[in-house]
């Protein structure tokens, strides 16, 4: 499916923005998800349940494809399902950054979603612990929000990272 087809399916124009596309997608879902809608004519062959389901699938596929094209050009418009290779969860800053970039998510986007400032997020990724808040509880909160946003399980990512943060704090106090 090329971009033009996707836009036709979601019934948006060529110059529709990412936001317009998301709105159109949500509207389409609202329209076609209901089995009994006021606009439907169940008496007619055209409105067979299979036809409606085929349309729903088409809408999903079109939106997925447009999201993929958009996220390649950032910022993304829809969380992508990410499949993790078992046993290789990133936990240090460098690995987290690579993971985020591979998912096509910008730091600005994460900041807008988590309400954690970009400066703190980049300090997390670069492990500049001295630029982070002093209280470990705050760092834990930032990291957890960041990990969840880029599609990682916080409970697996946070402990090893926090261990390094607290070791650094202990060294500094000595």
């Amino acid at each position: 499916m090329d971009e033009g087809q996707c836009r036709r399916i979601l019934e948006v124009t060529e110059d529709a923005s990412a936001e317009d596309i998301t709105q159109a997608y949500l509207l389409m879902k609202r329209i076609y998800e209901r089995e009994q809608a006021i606009f439907a004519a169940p008496s007619m062959d055209e409105f067979a349940p299979e036809a409606r389901e085929a349309i729903l699938e088409e809408i999903e596929a079109a939106y997925r494809e447009l999201s993929r094209l958009q996220s390649a050009a950032q910022p993304r418009i829809h969380p992508l399902p990410i499949i993790l290779p078992v046993g290789s969860l990133p936990s240090d800053g460098e690995a987290l950054r690579s993971f985020r970039e591979a998912a096509g998510v910008s730091l600005e986007y994460v900041a807008s979603q988590t309400h954690v400032r970009v400066e703190f997020l980049s300090a997390l990724e670069e492990e500049r612990f001295w630029d982070l808040p002093l209280a470990a509880v705050n760092v834990r909160g930032f990291l957890s929000a960041y990990a969840t946003e880029i599609g990682l399980p916080a409970e697996a990512v946070v402990p090893p990272y926090m261990q390094r943060f607290q070791q650094w704090q202990a060294r500094r106090e000595k």
Partner: protein, 300 residues
Amino acid sequence: MHIWAVGGGKGGTGKSLVSNGLGTRLAERGQQVILVDADYGGPNQHTYCGIRKPQTSLVQFFEERMPLEEIAQPTKIERLRLIPGNINSHNTDNLTTTQKQKLFRHLKHLQADHVILDLGAGTGYDTLDTFLQADVQVGVIAPDTLAIENFYLFLKNLKYRQLGNTLSLLSLRDRAKGIWKNRAELGIVNTKEFVAHLRVLSPEFSELFNQEQKKLKMHVVLNQVREHRQAEIGFAVKSAVVKFFHITAAYAGHVRYDKDLWLQFGQDTPALQRGSSFTLRQDLERITEEILKAQFPEET
């Protein structure tokens, strides 16, 4: 000159109101407009225009061969003229197809920028043919299942009519009938497969049918919107027209219901020009602009 047709299947959805609003707005934009009351069985465009007793009407055209230019009479709105429907005739809704075709031929020669046909309800062949021949096709619906169901039926009939007309033009009608009759043996289960079969049989048909289908572009207008959440029905119907019926469509917008419209008739002022009709006027202006934008992008 552009011929506009306003139809939509069910009666009482507001075809006359929308025709009147379109005509008024186009005239206000500085163009010469002629409104034609082609609702033979229930003409009332003259009442919308605030004309109590039209001096001439389509009766003179059909019975006395009076030229349409002479029948077209000025209204209170500058540049907007009206050709009223058959009123004082014993025979209003039983015109022959030949008569209606003659009318359409004559309409094409009128001196105006836009001619707007207010069509009647129903899905008779003449109504369908007139709608299909128009340059701008407007379908009016109301936010209820009854109106919407009838609208879809109107669309289906338009499609069947296109198919029938194309076959007739190529003298393939009898042959196609034979194929449909034997469809079980040929493994044809629905119209879609029937058309596919015909396409293979005659490339000429395929070509001509494509051309015919391109001529249909439905502008959907949702009238009688009483609640905000009903506005979405307009989008939904337009979307269904595209996705279930594979007809090109654009959503032109909705018209808010005016509970006082019934009070505006029988006066010398046209119904839409009365002060309290302002929401109708606003909405119909917006809709006219939307249709112009979608239909003539290069001109607006």
